[in-house]
């Protein structure tokens, strides 16, 4: 494992940074929020990103992708994270795309992945429930066997980009009770299926999420993604991959929030001096710098672990998410505090970083959850 960007990765980082500078200021996120945009992202930018080849980065070439890995995707997501770009990488490329890639039938992969990489169809994963918190295997949604397929009944919450997804991959159990680790399967449910209700949910970070209700939704035997009853393991692998992408996005967001705060510390004068000359603030800034540097190391390591399929991958993913979650919140809270009163106003952009940091922290498990997972994986 080499924790350094290759020349190609450096080039990709430069392209992504230029793209973000030209097309994706934070004001875009504000405008989407203020207009209560029903989709929550820009279709035209999403198409441009597809043309740049970004949507297919972690998808093999035979499905229209670039056949690269998370190490490359992380470079793009870090750049997008800098200005909180809301395009559906996490839901479609990572959760949906990787679930199909790891568990989907050849027919399903051929049906969806080329359209996904072209930006013509989006996927998502409906895995969270009201009482599941971070436990991927706590699933109450039922899959009843009937006729030539399955009937799904239950409710999923905060399905990322649920209202715009063309296909939802839904976790449901065919055996056992809500807390059983086994008996879970993942089913592909197309948008518009009978019995499927999708209602947008408004979250603090403004990202598109939806409550999804399934009232006896019928799917066929061929719509099972992965091995029947072993969906828990599939979910864990998929979410690990998505987690790495999220960490990269968080790394970008925390770096940008920190840079903006440093600029403010240099400019803002009180008591006749720039507030950045005060040691009380200098030391806290230096502390944040250290934590962000560690986040970069662990995120790079986790991405490379996934790409190399190391046995240690789950541990390194939990390491990355635990550290990025804590640091994202530290930096976001300190950014608001160091901006003082202006940092509390909606007019200033720094608040968007705090809100997104909170949402990202909670997504796929917070730091305490991942420390617990690390301890379990290390046998204590």
């Amino acid at each position: 494992m080499q924790l350094v960007l290759s020349e190609d990765q450096e080039l990709l980082a430069k392209t992504a940074a230029d793209f973000v500078a030209d097309h994706s200021p934070v004001s875009r996120v504000r405008a989407l929020r203020d207009s209560a945009d029903p989709e929550g992202f820009s279709r035209s930018l999403w198409k441009q990103m597809a043309e740049l080849g970004w949507l297919g980065i972690p998808i093999p070439e035979n499905y229209g992708g670039a056949g690269m890995g998370l190490s490359e995707l992380a470079v793009v997501l870090e750049a997008l994270g800098r200005t909180l770009a809301p395009e559906p990488f996490l839901s479609s490329v990572l959760l949906g795309g990787q679930a199909l890639l790891l568990g989907g039938s050849e027919a399903a992969k051929r049906a969806w992945l080329p359209r996904l990489t072209a930006g013509d169809a989006n996927l998502t994963l409906a895995y969270q429930e009201a009482r599941s918190r971070y436990d991927l295997r706590r699933v109450a949604t039922r899959a009843e066997s009937g006729g030539s397929g399955w009937s799904l009944t239950g409710e999923k919450i905060q399905v990322l980009d649920g209202a715009t997804a063309d296909c939802l991959l839904v976790s449901a159990r065919s055996v056992g009770d809500e807390r059983d680790a086994h008996g879970i399967s993942v089913f592909a449910v197309p948008r518009g299926a009978a019995g499927l209700t999708i209602e947008p949910q408004q979250r603090v970070d403004g990202r598109a999420a939806a409550r999804v209700r399934l009232a006896g939704v019928s799917v066929g035997e061929g719509d099972v993604v992965g091995t029947l009853g072993e969906g828990g393991d599939l979910l864990e692998r998929v979410v690990d991959r998505a987690c790495v992408g999220l960490c990269a996005e968080m790394l970008g967001s925390m770096s940008e929030a920190f840079d903006r705060t440093l600029t403010y510390l240099r400019q803002r004068e009180q008591f006749g001096a720039p507030i950045g000359s005060f040691q009380a603030l200098k030391h806290r800034a230096a502390h944040q710098f250290i934590e962000i540097e560690l986040c970069r190391s662990v995120t790079m390591a986790a991405a490379r672990a996934v790409d190399a399929e190391l046995d240690e991958t789950p541990r390194l993913v939990s390491l990355a998410k635990a550290r990025c979650s804590d640091t994202a919140m530290l930096v976001a809270n300190e950014s608001v505090q160091m901006h003082g009163g202006i940092g509390m106003t909606d007019e200033h952009d720094i608040g968007f970083y705090l809100k997104r940091a909170r949402a990202a922290e909670v997504t796929f498990g917070d730091a305490a959850y991942h420390r617990d997972r690390w301890a379990r994986l290390n046998g204590y």
Partner: protein
Amino acid sequence: MADLESFRAEAHAWLDANAPRAVRGIQVTAESGGNWGGRRAVFDPPEMKIWLEVAAARGWTAPTWPRDYGGGGLEPAAARVLSQEMAKLRLPPPLTGFGLTMIGPTLLRFGNEEQKREHLPRICRGEIRWCQGYSEPDAGSDLASLATRAVRDGDHFVVNGTKVWTSYADLSDWIFALVRSDPDAVKQEGITFLLIDMDDPGVSVSPIGLISGKSPFCETRFEDVRVPVANVIGEIHGGWTVAKALLGHERTMIADVFGSFGGGNKKSNGSSALGELARDYVGGDPALADPVLRDEIARCELDERAFLLTVQRARDAAKAGHQPGPESSLFKIYATELNKRRTDLAVRIAGPGGLGWEGPGFDEDELTRTRQWLRARGNSIEGGTSEIQLNIIAKRVLGLPD
């Protein structure tokens, strides 16, 4: 590469033929003094003396130094190969100490020809053991406020004052010291870097006990010690420049020590030292009975792994030909603060077993852990306090104003 591989074969053969069998696998510590050399060198086992002599004759006590001064004249890549081959044969370094790591590199950079010829070969042969005289009772973090006086008297300086934290001064032969040669100049500008023979009349040394017990630290006093002006390194009154360069060596050394702590890039094998320790004391399988303690252990391990990955990232960037990035500025502070937390946690895991000081009723590990916890308090003080490190990051990396 072909050259390197033939050098590897040659080095291996030479080491195998010339290094005494008895030194293989010997663990040398600073306390045992086994390879620190000097006028009062202790060779344990006695074959360490032969090992030192044959290595010095070949120039391999200081492999990268020029041959003219007793070094091996090797390129860094060849020196790495040599150290790999020594490791394969389980050979301890033939010589170590501040002569090789601190004053030697400083002399190579700032010393005049005469000084290099006088001191470097004696360092390479392990004849002289060196110590460092920087801090004073009233000059700690604010080192430039040091007050040890050096008054010019013909071709000598007369030195008066006290240095503290002079590690191993009681075992050393020479000291490199910062002295105030111009009391009227602004702080940094009146300082001279001076080499002093500790056998000279007027030098006295007393050990310093720490909260953790015995220590290598000493207090070194100078009373009317006459030092030749020829022993000035760099310019008279220009010692601060020399000192700063040397402090750079010291911080790299400290970070290296902690960077290798915990097995470097070694992959975790699924068990955890602190986790195992906790199971001994707390019990509870598979999950520890105490969830708070368990979380603290996980936090400590995550931070250690994150730090080691950052050290690896810096190394990988250097190997790829990049300039050192800002990440290297965090090594000293992070490694030391982490070691403080880790040693603190180890003692707390043991509960009452963490109170052992000496004698029966506590096992050896418990006694060691108590001392390590106390000794580690100093990690974030020595070699530049954590607060000074944060100042440096704020200023040099983040560009925050004074």
